[in-house]
Symmetry: C2
């Protein structure tokens, strides 16, 4: 039996205990996990230093180094994150509906944990702590497979967290880290159907596609966002400008950032020069289709490839469209089903856009940047699903559960 | 572009129209589909005859021939099935919750169609009609890939149904059949992520495993059931006998049939001779563990492999267990997460069993045979999910939907 299979077996066994843990037990574990993180801060920061040194040797970019690095403040934030999870309502056990059949059978639909969740992710060590906390609160054991860049930090963090879990009396195997960060072991994990109930990849498009292609374990695809903002004829152009600037520039590297701007031809002449100069002031490279170029001469032409691309950078492509229908078709053709927005004053067009755009989150007169578990009011999130199966959009604790039918009879046969 | 890709593209395009069809339009299509089935009955029955002749030449079993064969009565039943779907409530458009955030954003969670559903299935031509009707009612276009045994029947049925869809004014591409029944095309379909949103296999364990192993499109795994009935100490043994006989013998070839019987050691001496002779009277081959053999001498010994097997036949394996805990561990180890039952008079043991058994449907004092969309009151079913992602247990119209967040703002930025 491979080391990963052993981990899987232990996780499955532990899941039968964790599934039936009370909210009080789980909250107690979360608090102790936070305490241990602080107690072991010296070890964690030392191990993090090793990861940083290795990363510097490899010539890692400054932005990546920042994502990788921990300090006392960040550890405090992680512990605080766990305390926030304590405050969230426990979804487990809720019977969302119960009905009686003509034969007297009483059938209830109950929220129960998934069992064993696998998470494959990159870089940021705070994901290790967030994911561990959320999975535990929803009654799931978790097997984490982080990237090699953060392996020393992750080992230290998981060791501390497991100490907390153990002290609370819940099974230590509720949380396990895959220490072998080779691609072979990641592939093995994607096919560990015997033990893993659900796999959630978190990271760049490359990682997510690799998981989708190779996994036989059911996957929740997360995070790729080629998000559009469509500015309708007659829109409040001041509002449109604020929203486009916010959606594009407030945090361009995240999946809910705007990547494309569609402008109705009736407002193109008025809106394009303003928005393009405002975007450029923020350091955004602007690309455009032919009609954009006709209005603002010094814009680079967008290539065919641009329309399907998630830049995650200070780049935007702009297209002029004839009407809301063209905007909707374009979005349904090139979008990734993440977040799409219309800026409009038209009731009809707002309804059409809401109904016809096929995406996880569809906005009227607001920034796409709100697609986020905290902004939606879920308290925390494990990722943003861009598939249609199981969960779509920001996933909180509820999305880490499945259901079970509980049936009370008194001798019924069919 | 391959023929399947073309079908996929057409299905995707049609899905954007069908997604927004009204309930009235969809019901109209369902009624017309039923009418066309009857109108074209001669052609359908002729084509079915070809399939039957081919099957006879291949030496197909009588049971299989029966599943394959159509007659006027069966066609009437299929049309009636479509009329039943008309009566079901349309899940699409329901906003299951809507809330307001502190910044004034109003966020609603709305049920919407999946888009394009792929179904890979075997033999029975009535599945063609059921699946087409259910997918359409839930606003999804569907690509069906049936088995080669029923290809002539399926072509004729789909032709009739499409005529009905066309007459109702909905896109004809709402329903398409893959006429090339080769394995290559099935494999291509499993990887058609560009166009297919969800894949549902329906058939034997071999088919389902092939889809799970090969698909990159999100899959809902259905139907494999290694179901247990556990007879507790102090159970009403008359009730236990009725339930075991019903669960095992009323229809042994279906997935909710009992495959294993677990008997508490305190009732084994009293219960085993009775139940074994009752099972044998019904023509069931009984296998047992050592303790069973000690009580009823002429039983065949169950091998290690028996405990994980879905017989789908007049065979049962019986094991004596020390208590409810051992029954639960055995079920969680060998079960397929389908349907599990306890027969008991003990409040504590009933609660323990309901809470700790990890399966789609957990019964107290009732037959496992009730795990079925109609028996649960869903009106119809597209299959029984044995995975934890998205849907678990019988899947009705609701399970053929996904959600979309619709967000009303007035200029919010983050």
């Amino acid at each position: 039996m491979s080391e990963l299979s052993l981990k899987g077996e232990r996780s499955k066994e532990a899941s039968y205990i964790l599934m039936n843990a009370t909210t009080t037990q789980k909250n107690d574990a979360l608090i102790k996990m936070g305490e241990k993180l602080i107690e072991h801060k010296n070890n964690i920061l030392n191990e993090n230093k090793k990861d940083l040194e290795n990363a510097i040797l490899k010539g890692t970019s400054k932005a990546m180094l920042d994502r990788l690095s921990l300090d006392e403040k960040r550890l405090e934030d992680m512990a605080d994150g766990l305390r926030q999870i304590v405050k969230l309502a426990d979804p487990i056990g809720e019977v969302t509906s119960m009905w009686k059949r003509p034969n007297g059978l009483q059938i209830g639909k109950q929220k129960v944990p998934m069992g064993v969740i696998g998470i494959i992710y990159e870089a940021r060590p705070n994901v290790t702590c967030d994911a561990a906390g959320l999975c535990l609160k929803a009654g799931n054991t978790v097997i984490l497979r982080g990237g090699s860049e953060a392996i020393n930090s992750n080992v230290a963090i998981v060791k501390a967290l497991c100490e907390g879990i153990k002290e609370s009396g819940l099974p230590e195997a509720s949380l396990q880290l895959v220490e072998d960060t080779s691609r072979e072991v990641a592939n093995e994990m994607m096919r560990l159907n015997e033990y893993i109930d659900v796999l959630i990849p978190r990271g760049g498009a490359g990682l997510i596609q690799a998981v989708v292609k190779n996994a036989t374990v059911p996957v929740i695809e997360t995070g790729v966002g080629n998000c559009h903002v469509y500015v309708d004829a007659g829109a409040d152009l001041e509002m449109a400008k604020n929203i486009v600037i916010n959606a594009k520039t407030s945090r361009p590297a995240v999946c809910n950032a705007e990547e494309k701007l569609l402008v109705n031809k009736n407002v193109a002449e008025e809106f394009l020069p303003t928005i393009i100069s405002a975007l450029r002031e923020k350091g955004v490279e602007v690309r455009g289709d032919e009609e954009v170029l006709n209005i603002v001469k010094d814009v680079n032409e967008a290539s065919g490839e641009d329309w399907g691309k998630e830049y995650l950078d200070f780049i935007i492509s702009i297209k002029v469209v004839a009407n809301v229908d063209e905007a909707i078709s374009h979005i349904n053709k090139y979008g990734t089903g993440h977040s799409e927005a219309i800026i409009t004053k038209s009731y009809d067009n707002s309804q059409k856009f809401l109904q016809r755009v096929d995406a996880a989150a569809v906005y009227v007169n607001a920034s796409t940047r709100f697609t986020d578990g905290c902004e939606f009011g879920f308290g925390a999130e494990i990722g943003i699903s861009t598939q249609k199966l199981h969960a779509r959009g920001p996933m909180g604790l509820n999305e880490l559960t499945t259901t079970k039918y509980i049936i009370y009879g008194n001798g019924q046969v069919r």
